[in-house]
Symmetry: C2
Subunit: 234 residues, 2 copies
C-alpha cells in the first residue's frame, strides 16, 4: 500500500473554462504562494499587481473585493488538500485500518513533500481568523470540518468492519489522531523534529485499539518505512 | 491542589520604571489586544495611533520600528504565559505527576479563562511566522521552546521520582501531551468542543505511564472537576 507514491507531486493548474480564467488562476496561484508562506494577511492587491506586472484595477476586476480574492485562495488550498489527501484514499478504495492510516499518512506527506510552499495552511489560517468571524473564517472551518469528519468516518467504518474494538469511541479516536498530526506540525516548526515521531505515535495508538495485527502492507512504500525508522523525539 | 484557583485573573500593568514607560505600556497593551484576536499582521502603527489618539510619529518614537513593536507584543504575551502557567507551578513547588498535570491544566485554563482575548497566541503566531525567518520568528520559537522544555523536564523529574515507569521516554511523553493541548485548541476553534475532552485524554495518558494511582488531590478545584465531567467529543 504505497500511499501517494505515484501521485502528481506538483500542482496542476486548474482547468480554465473561459477567456480570462487563465489570468484569474495565475493570480490565485501567486496569491496562494504568498499566503502559504506568510499568511493570508500578507496578501495585498498592490503587491500582487506589482509581482504580476498588472494594474491594480485590472487585477481587482477579477475578484471584485479583497475578501473574494482571499476566499478564492482558501478554495484553492482546499482543492489541493482534497486532491492530495481525501481523493487518493477514496480512489484506492482503502478500508478499515488502512483507510485511517492512509488519511493520516497522506496528511503528513502533504507537509513533508511541501505540496504548498509554506507552513501556514490550514492551521495558521484557523488561528489567525477564528476570532474574526465572517465568510473567511467560515470557509476555513468548513475545510477542517470536512477533514475531521473524514477521519471520524474512517474510524467508525474500521470499527464496524471489526478492525477496531467495538468499544472504540470514533470521535475520541479521531480527536486523538488529529492531535498527533497538528501537534507534530507544531513540533516540526519549533524544533525541526520531522514527522517520523508522529508516525510511531499514530501506529502505537492504532495498535492499542486494533483487534488484530496492523495490515502487513502498511510500509510498502520505502519512503514511509524510512520515515518511520527516522523517528526522533527531542 | 487547586491550580490557579486564586491566581490574579486580570492582567496587571507592568511596572513603569521611567517617564514615558506608562504610555509605552499602554501602546503595547492595546497592540497585544489587537494581535491576540486578529494576529500580529493586523497591528498597524496607523490604526494604533488612531485608537490611542496619538500622532503616528509620537507612537513610532516609543519603538523605533514596526518590528520592535511586534517584538514588544510577543514579549508581553510571553510575560503573561510565564506568569500564568510556568510561575504558579514553580511557586507551589509541585513535583512529579502533580507538576506535569499542573502545567497541562494551567495551559488549558489560560485558554478557558481567556487571559488573552483571542485565540492567536502562540500557535497562530508560530504558523504565521515560521516560514518568514527573522527576529520575530526567533522570539516566538524561544517561548515555545521554553514551554516544551518545562514540560519535558517535568516528565523527566516525575520519572526520576518514581511516579512514572523507568522506561518512559520524556521527549515522547512531552510530545504526546503537547499534541493533546495544541490539538484541543484546534478542535475548540473548529467545533467549540471546549477543553474537557483534552483533560480526559491527558489523565488517561498519565494513568498508562504512572507507577501508582494518580494523586488524589488532582481535582481539588471544583472548576477542574466540572470541566472533567463535561467532556465532549464530537
Amino acid at each position: 500500500m504505497s500511499l501517494g507514491g505515484h501521485l502528481p507531486k506538483k500542482r496542476q493548474p486548474r482547468q480554465a473554462p473561459g477567456k480570462g480564467d487563465g489570468v484569474r488562476q495565475e493570480i490565485i496561484d501567486r496569491a496562494l504562494g504568498i499566503a502559504a508562506v506568510k499568511g493570508l494577511g500578507a496578501v495585498s492587491i498592490g503587491n500582487l499587481a506589482k509581482e504580476l506586472k498588472m494594474s491594480k484595477s485590472g487585477l481587482f476586476s477579477h475578484f471584485g473585493s479583497k475578501e473574494k480574492l482571499e476566499l478564492a485562495i482558501v478554495e484553492e488550498a482546499r482543492h489541493l488538500f482534497v486532491e492530495q489527501i481525501l481523493r487518493p484514499v477514496r480512489l484506492r478504495g482503502l478500508k478499515g485500518i488502512a483507510r485511517v492510516w492512509g488519511l493520516c499518512g497522506l496528511w503528513l506527506q502533504f507537509l513533508e513533500e511541501r505540496i504548498l510552499p509554506g507552513d501556514y495552511f490550514f492551521t495558521g489560517a484557523l488561528f489567525e481568523y477564528a476570532g474574526q468571524g465572517g465568510p473567511l473564517r467560515k470557509a476555513i472551518i468548513e475545510v477542517l470540518d470536512e477533514w475531521f469528519d473524514a477521519l471520524k468516518d474512517a474510524v467508525n467504518e474500521a470499527r464496524r468492519r471489526g478492525d477496531f474494538d467495538k468499544e472504540v469511541d470514533a470521535s475520541r479516536t479521531a480527536f486523538e489522531l488529529n492531535n498527533i498530526l497538528i501537534g507534530a506540525q507544531w513540533s516540526d516548526l519549533v524544533a525541526r523534529t520531522n514527522y517520523a515521531g508522529a508516525r510511531v505515535v499514530i501506529l502505537d495508538k492504532l495498535r492499542t485499539i486494533a483487534t488484530g495485527d496492523l495490515p502487513a502492507g502498511i510500509f510498502d512504500s520505502v519512503g514511509e518505512f524510512v520515515n518511520y525508522l527516522g523517528s526522533r523525539f527531542r
